[in-house]
């Protein structure tokens, strides 16, 4: 498989990280966003990150990298890309509308993919032509995309099995750690990780600062986790975590294993969103 030309749509945190990673592994990348200012900001930040790495002696080909990453307007994208990665806002209708346009714009060989963490690949694939459907799949990166090794390669109902296997091998060859998975709610990580939050919430049951600290301490010290569940929820955002929990719970027909905890809702209602609000399970003054 040859992936040399990549287009990343969406220049937010995920999109810019994905664009940076593809450039670093040798691809020519076009980054685009419906806000040109956002694209430019992302480009500037990526350049700054490369300059910093070069200063530390960790990168020697900064000029070459800068040449291979460019910002393009959404309506002026090259038509012959090998791979398109969509990383825009999590809104199904907006995504479907975008994929319809991308399908019409790109060459038949172009692979279209979504970095969605919440929508079924099959639903988004409805927007593309039958010819494109085998070339449509999910590629779920983790933040920060340049550091986190995992890419979930998600096979939609009509995605070509061979394409998924080839992409798996390609990512593997580029020092990512791909995981092939079926198109099901939460894919692997957002499903299996739910109880890293849900069970500690049930252990403490109600707000108790000492217990919360202790659970975090035990899971780090004994379990070997880098962060405790409460610290991590505060970092992710209690609102974001609660929303993912509810989305997975709903998608599995309110299966009790995924049920949100009352404390999550209470904290969201009180706008105690974690670090970003300076108040969560911990206080950040």
């Amino acid at each position: 498989m040859n992936i040399s030309k990549v287009i990343v749509i969406g220049a937010g945190t995920m999109g810019s990280g994905i664009a940076q990673w593809f450039t670093q592994v040798g691809c020519s990348v076009e980054l685009t966003d419906n806000s040109p200012a956002q694209s430019e900001k992302a480009l500037k930040d990526i350049h700054a990150s490369w300059d910093k790495l070069a200063e530390k002696g960790k990168l020697s080909n900064v000029d070459e990298l800068k040449k291979r990453l460019k910002v393009s307007a959404l309506d002026h994208l090259s038509k012959d890309a090998d791979l398109v990665v969509e990383a825009i806002i999590e809104n199904l209708e907006i995504k479907k509308d975008l994929f319809k346009k991308l399908d019409a714009h790109f060459a038949p060989h172009t692979i279209l993919s979504s970095n969605t963490s919440s929508f079924p690949i099959a639903l988004m694939a409805e927007a593309v032509s039958d010819k494109r459907k085998p070339q449509f799949l999910g590629l779920h990166f983790f933040n920060p995309a340049t550091i986190m090794k995992l890419v979930e390669v998600i096979k939609g109902k009509d995605s070509s099995e061979q394409l998924c296997r080839d992409l798996y091998a390609w990512f593997d060859s580029k020092d990512k750690k791909p995981a092939l998975c079926k198109d099901s709610p939460g894919f692997i990580v957002n499903r299996v990780a739910r109880n890293f939050y849900g069970e500690p919430l049930r252990i403490v049951e109600q707000e108790d600062e000492a217990k919360i600290k202790e659970v975090d301490h035990i899971l780090k010290e004994v379990g070997g986790f880098k962060m405790g569940p409460f610290e991590l929820m505060d970092l992710i955002g209690i609102d974001v975590n609660y929303s993912v929990t509810c989305s997975v719970w709903e998608a599995y027909g309110k299966e009790p294993r995924f049920a949100p905890h009352k404390l999550q809702k209470q904290m969201v209602d009180e706008k105690r969103f974690g670090r970003k609000a300076k108040r969560g399970f911990y206080k950040y003054d």
């Binding site: 750690k177 791909p178 995981a179 079926k182 099901s184 692997i188 109880n195 035990i218």
Partner: protein, 179 residues
């Protein structure tokens, strides 16, 4: 039930009971040692049930998922420096907790992650290898769920059953792949 055999370590007036016996086996050990101060591995059960019934039980611990780092979660009714020192002498790093919870903190959390990984496997979402890989490289887990559960499925199932019995919450129903 196929539980591995238990080992007792005795010193001064204390007895430390290692291993993952059945509830009845654990109770037998307590009944046989009414004069001792017993510290017992109760990973798969609710320590409170035992504390309520056996005053000789002075502390509990959870060593089910103890790995080469030999860190174990220990709960003592009152601070017992001799017990902590003994664990250290035996090569463990005891980490004390004040929370009494069925399955303690780490095992209770990890069995639920293991259970979900088995449900995902049951539904053919991904292979064991890819689930392990996803959790280690997507969210930095120190081990994959199947690496944690390897050879311990019976105890995982026992703890899930105990949690189901205690709470009546169906979230603890075990995947049929955990045998």
């Amino acid at each position: 039930m196929g539980f591995i055999s238990m080992t007792n370590v005795q010193f001064d007036n204390f007895l430390i009971n290692f291993g993952f016996g059945t509830k009845a086996e654990k109770q037998e050990i307590l009944k046989a040692n009414p004069e001792k101060h017993v510290i017992m591995d109760l990973t798969c059960y609710d320590p409170q049930d035992f504390y309520d019934e056996y005053p000789q039980l002075k502390g509990t611990f959870a060593a089910l998922f103890c790995d080469e780092a030999k860190k174990i979660e220990v709960h003592c009714l009152k601070h017992e420096p001799e017990v902590i020192a003994k664990f250290k002498e035996l090569g463990f790093t005891p980490v004390e907790t004040t929370i009494v919870s069925c399955g303690f903190i780490f095992p209770r959390t990890i069995v639920q992650i293991i259970n979900e990984a088995h449900f995902a496997l049951e539904e053919e979402v991904a292979s064991k290898e890819d689930i392990n890989r996803a959790m280690k490289f997507g969210v930095n887990y120190p081990k994959g769920p199947f690496e944690w559960s390897e050879g311990k499925e019976l105890y995982v199932k026992t703890l899930l059953f105990e949690l189901l019995q205690k709470t009546g919450d169906k979230r603890y129903v075990a995947s049929k792949l955990i045998k």
